[in-house]
């Protein structure tokens, strides 16, 4: 059996890559995809802990995370569509009205 810590380290690596993508990608769609990557990394940690602790609750949580991610993707992409329509650009640096 592969130790759960291997899976957890993999999950941490994927989460870290998601954070890096979130920080230095400029395209709003790619930033959104980095968020999905982070959610996936967390799901992997949930499944590993679920196996490690011999409890199915973690898998139920993964199910809920996937549902919420689906809802988030639908609303988020609608927002991206609106931004692209109003600004004619997908670069996040052009969306800075809240900046001082």
């Amino acid at each position: 059996m592969v130790p759960a810590s291997y899976y957890l380290v993999l999950s941490a690596i994927l989460f870290g890559l998601g954070v890096v993508g979130f920080v230095f990608k400029r395209n709003i769609i790619t930033i959104f995809m980095s968020i999905e990557l982070m959610l996936n990394a967390v799901n992997l940690a949930f499944v590993s802990f679920s196996r490690e602790l011999g409890s199915l609750d973690g898998q139920v949580f993964v199910f809920f995370v996937i549902v919420v991610a689906a809802a988030e993707a639908a609303v988020g992409l609608a927002i991206i569509l609106l931004i692209a329509r109003n600004r004619q650009s997908l670069n996040v640096e052009n969306v800075d009205l809240l900046k001082l």
């Binding site: 059996m1 810590s5 291997y6 380290v9 954070v19 993508g21 920080v23 959104f32 499944v47 196996r51």
Partner: protein, 166 residues
């Protein structure tokens, strides 16, 4: 080296490679396809851990529905390559060390938590989807119903947001 460990490293490499490619590609459609690779690799890892239902849901909902939506939006907006600016170079200088630090911190913290738990609970029961269904529809039936309301609101929100103002 046994088969399970080999499969773990195979799919782990696939996932990390896909995630790296997601970050390094400059065209959003390439990033989206890389993310699909990550999701398929993760589904295989779920199967390896005996979570068949989650693996199936991962393929159907993530790789199937959510990524199709992403690709659809990329095509619809005709998104091109992202341009490099001074701020993106600065973000790279700051982002990479911070990301490596965060990854190391997370890996250290989370795997430390696992090894201390493993000492007490070494028994691994095989799961089946039926047990998951019983848990989902008995103990977690209220959150389950709440998610259906959430999905409904998300559908309404997406329609309202994406509608063209007349």
């Amino acid at each position: 080296m046994n088969v399970e460990l080999f499969l773990f490293f195979l799919f782990a490499l696939m996932a990390v490679g896909g995630a790296l490619s997601l970050i390094l590609q400059r065209h959003p459609i390439h990033s989206a396809l890389s993310l699909i690779v990550v999701m398929v690799a993760l589904a295989a890892l779920y199967l390896l851990q005996g979570a068949e239902f989650i693996a199936a849901v991962q393929i159907i909902v993530y790789a199937g529905a959510i990524m199709v939506l992403f690709v659809f939006v990329i095509m619809l907006l005709n998104a091109g390559e992202e341009e490099r600016t001074a701020a993106s170079r600065m973000a790279r200088v700051v982002g990479v060390p911070v990301g490596i630090f965060l990854t190391a911190l997370l890996a250290w913290g989370i795997s430390g938590g696992a090894s201390s738990q493993a000492a007490t609970e070494a028994v691994v029961k095989p799961y089946d989807t039926k047990q998951l269904a019983v848990l989902l529809f008995r103990e977690y039936v209220f959150p389950f119903e709440l998610t259906s309301i959430l999905i409904l609101i998300a559908i309404l929100g997406a329609v309202v947001l994406a509608k063209r103002e007349s």
